[in-house]
């Protein structure tokens, strides 16, 4: 197939892909609803911010960011040397190969008038850069395998990226190796030299077989030191100008020693097969780039510069959504956030991938795109978004500088807004949210939904029509309630009870009444009392109880049981 045609197709797909993803930056968003802003409005706001960044005092910050964040990768350097080395090797090696080798006719030839791909230092450097990339890929593979127990998730797309990058380099090296040993390539080059004398050709072949890895399958010349010496002289005169010793291509030359004898009989076919393989790897990678995590080549620098300028603060409201979308597209699924996530142990308890920040951020693009999700997935995502200590570690560590904190907070409330009750709201993860005072109204609204669910699921004491009777079998795990001798000291000392004019009504049941109801086997009644959720967990009751009833611990147990009951109900 025609190379130019393939190249044109790949470049077109790549460009269209990039345009599509840029369109997504300015047309989608998580929260507040994207519909409130039009595309031109968002483009204008972004343009204004860009102008301000490039032509103002902030341009210094941008420059600093280019050097520190983009080229030096400081965020990775500060956290993990091995990952910094791996990324550095791939980044530097690949970029240099791209400019100096893939674009040699556009760049290298113009920079260096004597450029020949077969001359040193180019021959040597290509191998060096290639080896750098391979070493980086090897570290990345090692990291993905060894960190699996530390909750590093790897998708097919992550392996694909490594296979593409490694495949490009490896196929290129194999191709070069095949060319080194190829007799037809030797003949083609021989034609360029204009040597026709049969004996001279024999000598030259002998020298290239002996020193440069050439393999001739049929009737190779008999190698003698004299012939090799003669060939060396001819080579120096006729080939040296355009071709360095193949040993400079130290990796390919080594490969040729293995592959040469293997493919000697079909060497011409092997060269053209490997050429196609190499080109196919490169062009497929190019076409795949904008649709994969490799788009971070474009989005991560933008995200990093924005974060260097803005930090965790939100800028213009019109740019909030755009920054969210740039952030989402900049995630490389490196898993650094999940490795340091403070909530990582809750993932082990709840077996919900979305508790890990890297998995949340990977999935949020579906929410941003307005995709309809089934309620089970939504519920899991909502729980994952809520089980978060707001410690900001993920945001501080993200190598792409994604403002994860903002993304997670806004998606949390965007999801809660759909009215699916979230029982984790009753955890102390709500504490930092109350401090931050953002989304106060949304938070209260979502709490109401949970409250309603509780009211529906449990009968309150006040609503009971029939007199209370003794219930059989209704025992509670913590047996200390049995020691209660009804002195009511717990209720009398409770700071919550004294906060209300009519505590019985406000709290459903008073602390001692909860213990009484456990005593008569009415565990459900206790589970539905508002008192347990109004408990400030100060442990005064428990500490002052003359009979060692573990009130506060019992309340915790009742809260756990009530949530478990509700979650069960939701599933069945």
């Amino acid at each position: 197939m025609n190379f130019t045609l393939l190249l044109t197709v790949a470049v077109s797909v790549c460009l269209i892909g990039i345009l599509l993803r840029l369109y997504v930056w300015f047309s989608q968003g998580i929260h507040p609803p994207a519909a409130t802003l039009t595309l031109p409005q968002r483009l204008a706001a972004a343009g204004k911010a860009l102008g301000g960044a490039l032509f103002g005092p902030r341009s210094i910050t941008v420059l600093k960011s280019i050097f520190l964040d983009l080229l030096f990768q400081q965020r990775v350097f500060d956290k993990n040397t091995l990952r910094w080395i791996a990324h550095g090797l791939i980044f530097t090696g690949f970029l240099l190969l791209f400019f100096l080798h893939a674009l040699d006719s556009l760049i290298t030839e113009r920079l260096f008038s004597d450029y020949q791909s077969t001359l040193d230092p180019y021959l040597f450097l290509r191998n060096l850069f290639g080896l750098m990339v391979l070493a980086g890929v090897a570290i990345a593979v090692y990291r993905r395998i060894t960190l699996r127990p530390q909750r590093l998730m790897t998708y097919a797309g992550d392996w694909a990226a490594l296979i593409f990058v490694g495949g490009i380099i490896l196929s290129g090296m194999l191709l070069e190796g095949a060319k080194i040993s190829s007799y037809s390539t030797f003949q083609r080059m021989l034609d360029d030299t204009g040597i026709t004398d049969e004996q001279e050709i024999q000598a030259l072949a002998a020298y290239w077989i002996e020193k440069n890895g050439l393999v001739i399958a049929h009737n190779p010349p008999a190698i003698t030191p004299e012939l090799v010496a003669q060939g060396q002289e001819i080579s120096a005169g006729s080939c040296g100008e355009c071709h360095a010793a193949n040993s400079s291509a130290f990796v390919s030359f080594g490969l040729a020693k293995i592959t040469g004898p293997l493919m000697a009989s079909g060497e011409a076919g092997a060269v053209s097969f490997l050429w196609y393989l190499h080109i196919l790897f490169c062009l497929t990678f190019l076409a795949w780039l904008p649709f994969s995590k490799m788009f971070h080549i474009i989005s991560a620098p933008v995200s990093l510069i924005i974060t260097r300028i803005m930090g965790k603060e939100n800028g213009e409201p019109a740019n909030v959504l755009t920054r969210q979308m740039i952030g989402l597209s900049a995630c490389t699924h490196c898993g650094a956030c999940s490795l340091e996530c403070s909530s990582n142990m809750f993932f082990e308890s709840f077996h919900n991938d979305f508790i890990l920040p890297s998995e949340k951020v990977q999935f949020l693009k579906h929410i941003a795109a307005g995709k309809e999700l089934d309620s089970a997935t939504l519920k899991k995502l909502q729980q994952g978004l809520y089980i978060c200590t707001s410690c900001d570690r993920c945001t501080n560590i993200c190598p792409s500088g994604i403002n994860l904190k903002e993304l997670f907070v806004s998606s949390r409330y965007a999801l809660l807004d759909r009215g699916i009750p979230e029982t984790s709201m009753l955890s102390h993860f709500s504490f930092p949210l109350a401090l931050a005072q953002s989304y106060t109204g949304d938070h209260l609204k979502a709490l109401k939904v949970v409250e309603q669910l509780f009211r529906k699921s449990f009968t309150a004491l006040a609503d009971m029509v029939r007199p209370l009777t003794l219930e059989r079998g209704g025992t509670f795990a913590n047996p200390s309630y049995r020691s209660c001798y009804a002195c009511q000291r717990c209720t009398n000392i409770c700071p919550v009870v004294r906060s209300y004019d009519n505590p019985g009504e406000a709290l459903g049941m008073l602390p001692h009444q909860i213990i009484f109801s456990l005593g008569i086997g009415k565990v459900d009644l206790a589970m539905g009392a508002k008192m347990i959720w109004s408990c400030s967990t100060c442990y005064l009751c428990q500490e002052h109880c003359p009979n060692q009833v573990e009130l506060c611990d019992i309340f915790y147990g009742l809260k756990n049981a009530a949530i478990a009951r509700i979650e069960e109900g939701g599933r069945s």
């Binding site: 340091e340 709201m425 955890s427 709500s430 930092p432 709490l447 500490e543």
Partner: protein, 308 residues
């Protein structure tokens, strides 16, 4: 002396000054705090939802400290209580311990219970000792009246936290006393700041907080000294939020204990992060500094006696 420094989730991002000032103070007494990035949440936020999910994270944290061969030093009360609770649970429940250990083994960790959980106040009180602190003082802060609020989860339940007498706590009294400041006896000293209800029932949470602010002020406090980071956030952040909603209301500024002790030890106030407290005004800092004066004669006499 060396400890694994357990800061929890709130302190590194919301109360950095607590960690910085504690570190500066302990350094004065030759105590090194090792920051361990692998530590995760103590589990406390999950306690309302699932007891096992609440216990497990602390077991991992203790296993990490064990691996590093260090005892854990904690600032936050809720982290402290969670670690102590987890320890007491898995030390009794062998089956649960095995279950957690199977999980931890995947990442090369194991809990055996060798790492001790220490509160920084206990370390100052027991390991350093009041006399050593007194001998290092450059200043005392006579005339400073503050209300200490212990926070619930450090005192109660006493069999779990094992911090101090839960009815008549002495540690804070001794530690404030040595600085020359007055720790007031006030009604809310051992009561709840309302943090556990924030986000669940803000109205009640703020009511409990307001009760403490008024109580401290009535007792004549110039400053409130919360021990727990949750209490700190209630008195510092929530109080500021409340003040913003009710302009003209008077603020009761927060002064953390290591900040006070740090000033008396002659540590630079910038290292103590005084301005990190949202409720403390420049005039308050000046007021505290104006009260600083050289320690009383006793110390000099003692030093002379020792020299003689």
């Amino acid at each position: 002396m060396k400890f694994a420094f357990f800061q929890g989730c709130n302190i590194p991002v919301r109360v950095e000054q607590y960690a910085d000032s504690t570190e500066a103070v302990l350094q004065t007494f030759g105590i090194e705090l090792v920051r361990i990035p692998e530590f995760n949440c103590c589990g406390y936020p999950m306690r309302n939802v699932d007891e096992k999910a609440y216990i497990m994270p602390s077991v991992r944290n203790m296993a990490i400290a064990e691996k590093a061969g260090l005892d854990i030093l904690v600032i936050c009360n809720c982290c402290f209580a969670s670690l102590q609770k987890a320890k007491s649970v898995v030390d009794k429940d062998r089956a649960l311990r095995e279950e957690f250990n199977t999980l931890l083994a995947k990442e090369g960790l194991a809990y055996s219970g060798t790492a001790r959980i220490r509160h920084y106040l206990t370390v100052l009180h027991e390991d350093v000792g009041i006399e050593t602190i007194r001998n290092k003082l450059v200043n005392t802060c006579k005339g400073l009246k503050l209300s200490v609020i212990h926070g619930c989860h450090i005192l109660r339940p006493r069999e779990i936290t094992q911090f101090d007498d839960s009815f008549v706590p002495r540690i804070t009294e001794d530690l404030v006393g040595v600085t020359g400041a007055t720790s007031l006896d006030w009604r809310g000293r051992m009561e709840c700041c309302g943090a556990a209800l924030a986000g669940l029932n803000d109205e009640l949470s703020r009511k409990l907080l307001q009760e403490k602010i008024s109580g401290a002020r009535q007792a004549g406090a110039d400053y409130i000294t919360p021990i727990c980071s949750y209490c700190h956030l209630q008195f510092d952040t929530t109080q500021s939020n409340m003040a913003a909603e009710a302009p003209g209301s008077e603020i009761l500024p927060v002064l953390l204990y290591p900040q006070l002790l740090g000033l008396c030890l002659g540590i630079d106030e910038r290292r103590l992060g005084m301005t990190g407290n949202r409720t403390i005004a420049t005039s308050d800092i000046d007021h505290i500094k104006s009260l600083l004066g050289p320690p009383v004669e006793e110390k000099k006499k003692k030093v002379r006696q020792q020299a003689a």
